[in-house]
Symmetry: C2
Subunit: 306 residues, 2 copies
């Protein structure tokens, strides 16, 4: 089954203790697609300016990402400039130029409206709602958000969350959104927002991710890495691997969700090994399989009998 | 096989957002023994003052902990007073009264000198070395330490680390000790201190623990808890469960080390559910088995085929 993703397409300038990149391909929809395209067909909806370097996305087109929903508007592409210190968990934003992204109103092409899976990247909650209004109800809708919307658009955010099946969120944001200090309580509360018990995936950076499903919890480890260059887009490549695996499987059982969290972790672990999408651009299926095995070795233990 | 533990025996006064306890049983050797005694015989070496409330340790005696090495000296028992905010990862020390602990010089009774396993709790590194001088080389020697010794007694600490098989250490302390920002590099460096490749166990609080063995890494998850009252002693109860399981198994294979990290995590997860040793005092074997199953459910996933 295919995935529809709506989110930002950006040019990022990032500096970390390990190097820097200028005007490099980025944005939530791009990082998501770069990961998801290894597992599933992806349809992307976003906006860029006339200055957008089209050739940069050729590798995604070659992997079957459909850009029929990428609007090209007069003006400049969304640009973000940021810096990380040795604590790569904390980004310092230096500049944000929304440019054409400030007027973004997602239009879903008719050929995209029956996608089986939908990922609402981190954009204004009311735009996320507008996307939902335009599509035939997918098999699974997942949503990402950030502190900016939690702090400024809480009612709209709560409203759109009640309409989705799954929320992907950072640890600190889950606490902030629910005003619960305990992560367990935060996730449990979030699960009740909406008519159906929701699935909640909590991203914890280098510590991995937690999956809160209806009756239980699953913990994916973070893989201690030799090389860690740039964490930008890690959350979106996690979501891309996660949704890509679900779409490939075509089913949403608890076991599949657990495996999808591992695949998401695998893709995020690659993404941080280089700037922009560079690592995922040169990534091979054999490398993905090798790292899945590493995650298995990392977390598997034999039965304990006392 | 039995375990010899050398460490502090204290009376702790602790306040957290969830309650408080005054002059309650604590110290590294006590928290260690409370956990390890579920799995193995334990011999304890430590010191208390004449004011020590002997009846408090009756439950440990009933579980077979041998206190023949507990010196009772003129003066008062070591007291620590501390406070935690909502971030239970960070303790604020309000008062430290070393009392009789300031003159502690461990004397290992002759009946303790052939223990199969030795845990050197967090005391002065030169005292840890003195313990090693007094015993027949155990099958496995593990050591804990803290930032205080890293900052003030680095040469002595490095020297004693070179003599042990396994180091149990906090994440931040592993970085501080090796001056490596990357946890992977920190652990790999620590492994080389000594004639044999060392095993390193890194404690990460609510995020679980990492085991760095000769050829690989294992990650134990942290169990998201309903009740979290007091983190004091979590690291020592982890070490107690870890060493207790190894001693019970009597062997030190990679698979056993992985299982031991899970058992350590299980015991730490109980320890934090109440103040002092109260949770471990009323803990049952059935509860331990139940939580081991929870850890399995938390981290197990089925084979991923792409």
């Amino acid at each position: 089954m295919g995935i529809l993703v709506v989110g930002s397409v950006a040019l990022d300038s990032v500096k970390t203790p390990f190097g820097e990149a200028d005007d490099a391909l980025g944005g939530s929809a791009i990082h998501f697609s770069a990961a998801a395209s290894f597992f599933s067909k992806v349809q992307l909806v976003g906006v860029v300016g006339e200055d957008f370097p089209e050739r940069e996305i050729d590798f995604l087109k070659n992997r079957g990402v459909d850009f029929a929903g990428l609007q090209v508007e007069k003006g400049k592409t969304f640009r973000w400039k940021g810096e990380y210190g040795f604590d790569l968990n904390v980004a310092k934003t230096l500049e944000t130029h929304l440019n054409v992204f400030s007027g973004f109103s997602p239009v879903i092409p008719s050929s995209f409206r029956e996608a089986g899976f939908l990922f609402l990247g981190n954009i204004h909650p009311s735009l996320q709602g507008k996307v939902l209004d335009q599509v035939k109800r997918p098999k699974l809708v997942a949503l990402d958000t950030m502190n900016f919307w939690i702090e400024g658009e809480l009612p709209a955010l709560k409203q759109v969350i009640s309409r989705v099946d799954l929320v992907v969120i950072n640890e600190a944001e889950a606490r902030e959104l629910t005003r619960e200090a305990s992560l367990l309580k935060a996730a449990r509360r979030l699960q009740t927002w909406g008519p159906q018990p929701k699935t909640v995936v909590v991203k914890r950076g280098e510590y991995g991710a937690l999956l809160f499903y209806k009756d239980g919890i699953f913990s994916a480890p973070g893989l201690p890495l030799e090389t860690l260059m740039d964490p930008t887009g890690a959350g979106d490549s996690f979501a891309g691997g996660f949704m890509g695996y679900l779409a490939k499987s075509g089913e949403i059982k608890v076991e599949t969700l657990k495996q999808a969290v591992i695949v998401g972790s695998v893709m995020a672990s690659f993404n941080v090994e280089d700037f922009s999408c560079r690592r995922l651009k040169r990534l091979t299926s054999a490398e993905i399989n090798g790292r899945i095995k590493q995650f298995k070795d990392l977390s598997h233990f034999e039965e304990i009998k006392l």
